[in-house]
Subunit: 398 residues, 2 copies
Amino acid sequence: MKFISNRGQIMPSSPIRRLVPFADQAVEKGRHVYHLNIGQPDILTPDTFLNPIKNLDMPVIAYGPSAGFTSLRKKLVDYYARFDITVDYSEILVTTGGSEAIIFTLMSICDAGDEIIIPEPFYTNYNGFAVEAGVNVVPITSYIENDFQLPPIESIKEKITPKTRAILICNPNNPTGYVYSKAELKALSKIVQEHNLFLLSDEVYREFTYDGLKHTTAMHLKNIEDRVIMLDSVSKRYSACGARIGMIVSKNKEIIETALKFGMARLCPPSIEQVGVEAGVDTPREYFEEVNKEYTERRNTMVRLLREIPGVVAPNPKGAFYMIVRLPVKDSNDFAQWLLTDFHVNNETVLIAPADGFYSRPGLGKDEVRIAYVLNVNDIKKAMHILSEALKVYPGRI
Amino acid sequence: MKFISNRGQIMPSSPIRRLVPFADQAVEKGRHVYHLNIGQPDILTPDTFLNPIKNLDMPVIAYGPSAGFTSLRKKLVDYYARFDITVDYSEILVTTGGSEAIIFTLMSICDAGDEIIIPEPFYTNYNGFAVEAGVNVVPITSYIENDFQLPPIESIKEKITPKTRAILICNPNNPTGYVYSKAELKALSKIVQEHNLFLLSDEVYREFTYDGLKHTTAMHLKNIEDRVIMLDSVSKRYSACGARIGMIVSKNKEIIETALKFGMARLCPPSIEQVGVEAGVDTPREYFEEVNKEYTERRNTMVRLLREIPGVVAPNPKGAFYMIVRLPVKDSNDFAQWLLTDFHVNNETVLIAPADGFYSRPGLGKDEVRIAYVLNVNDIKKAMHILSEALKVYPGRI
């Protein structure tokens, strides 16, 4: 009997989570593991978010509306207004995490066999969502040598076929930390307009830009208002990754109506977490300023220490809290696993994500890893020391 | 520009929620609307579930494991043991609601174009999930005349093709309230075995059987242990529909591993609600006994009053909290809408779900509605009085 569908067989395992069992084994051996593999910040979830949950006045945890609580959608209008994004609450659909925002969007605009262009390296789970929707990801490669900026517009145009439905960007970028410039976005908007495509803009790291750099939202692009679909999530904003609340935002009413049909089938997003998010919108500005300061220091520390290690290439990312780093190794998968199984400094080691899983084209990213700077500065120093010592003795070093 | 995919265009709107805007308009006119359209009970969520959420000790609402918190999965082993369902925690995958359990299961076992046989009328959102997975629903019709029991086995066999991957049942059944007998399940297990199919068994109403009838779980069927996938949810069990926590349970490790890959892509189910569910497993037996007594009384009241209305055919359902009722009307869609727009008794009216949305074959269910007995006995009496008066004057009556 054939148990598993082809779709189930080709569905990728998450490269971020693939090595977790090895980390668990290291912990069982009594080792401490610094987790730099996943975008799970140690930043405290703000009280504005947590307090209404602790004071929950909901005698029946009932279904909410499929589009999310109307009061939450109206509150989100205020949130976006702070970034000069003018939307009506009817243009916001609340989803179960940013993940569902992406799936619903792909399902709404693509049929099986359609294509989505994505600059690579990209957020690895886009691959999984594409498999679920039967969509083919067409990568355009960006390079560490120029900080992973947008590949030349001509190289994007070359990839457009009659099957192309959209260009998907993540800005600020996971996994590279790159923040797209106004000029890059403008260039994208032109292709989108010329070729009748959608621009899907994953902006969940909106709050995380450094060195005074300002984030440009796709919602500000002129002439393609009905072709922009912004994907969002509160996971990183309020350090509430487990809350699973995201959003689809678009001026295109057909898109919102169609996504809502997928939303109706799954009934509603989680009710209790929506209460937290609604109140979370009132989180004071100081919270974000402090968080931003903390991440700036973490990034500075990490980049400085990485650049001190011989053979390491580390860009200085301007956003999110990740970076793709080139290591002097033949196979970063082997290296990452070896760190957990064969190496430690004073019984401590690190978990990093091999970068090949963030590329779509086979063979790319073999000497790269993604590092999330989600630990405090002290832990980052220790983790970088371990990495440095490891690269001195790792047998697969080049 | 073609904005919407074919998939998005054929995605059905929920028939349960389709008339809600008319109900909202009635409310705006100052009318009270008794909601009998949706399985949203008024039963209080137990304190065992709510208290740990109010006392939440989770300074960072972090991602949990993709399969659900291990502590929750282990606790669920105890829960199932009470029903003599013996499973290891590795055989349980926690999902974001029963909805996701169904989608992940369809994605794991079906490719686009594959077929699933479902007795109709069936839970209407199966249709939506089938569209998402590109799966064709093949209905076998059950009839109100014999309480919607399983159609003859021969009529099921006739529908099996090389594309058939599974038979999906909901037991106790939404929308009919029918509880499948041991003999019916045994007959199904034989077909499943002979034709190399899966048996998907949606058992979210396990706690809701009446008149001393015992529910038979598909997990007890012999010789097809690796072909049974039980779909579950805490929505009804703890009156926590908005919590969005469900489960896939199967002895087939390949299925759990494959479903987990879909789970990894969406990272994790909601963390806060999982805390409630884990504690909720310790809800005392008395809670369920009281709930069961209450629903028995509601059902008795509703069936008695419905049978007093001339021209109405109402079976006496043994499980869940729904019934499909035949009304003396030409078009139950028109009638249900008319109730909201054109009728009231002392400024009160009712919202019921037209049944055609629960059938896959066109033309069926036109004179039927689904009624959920999720209101207290007093409200049920008032709602049935309104229905009775309405049928006396409704112009489309036959």
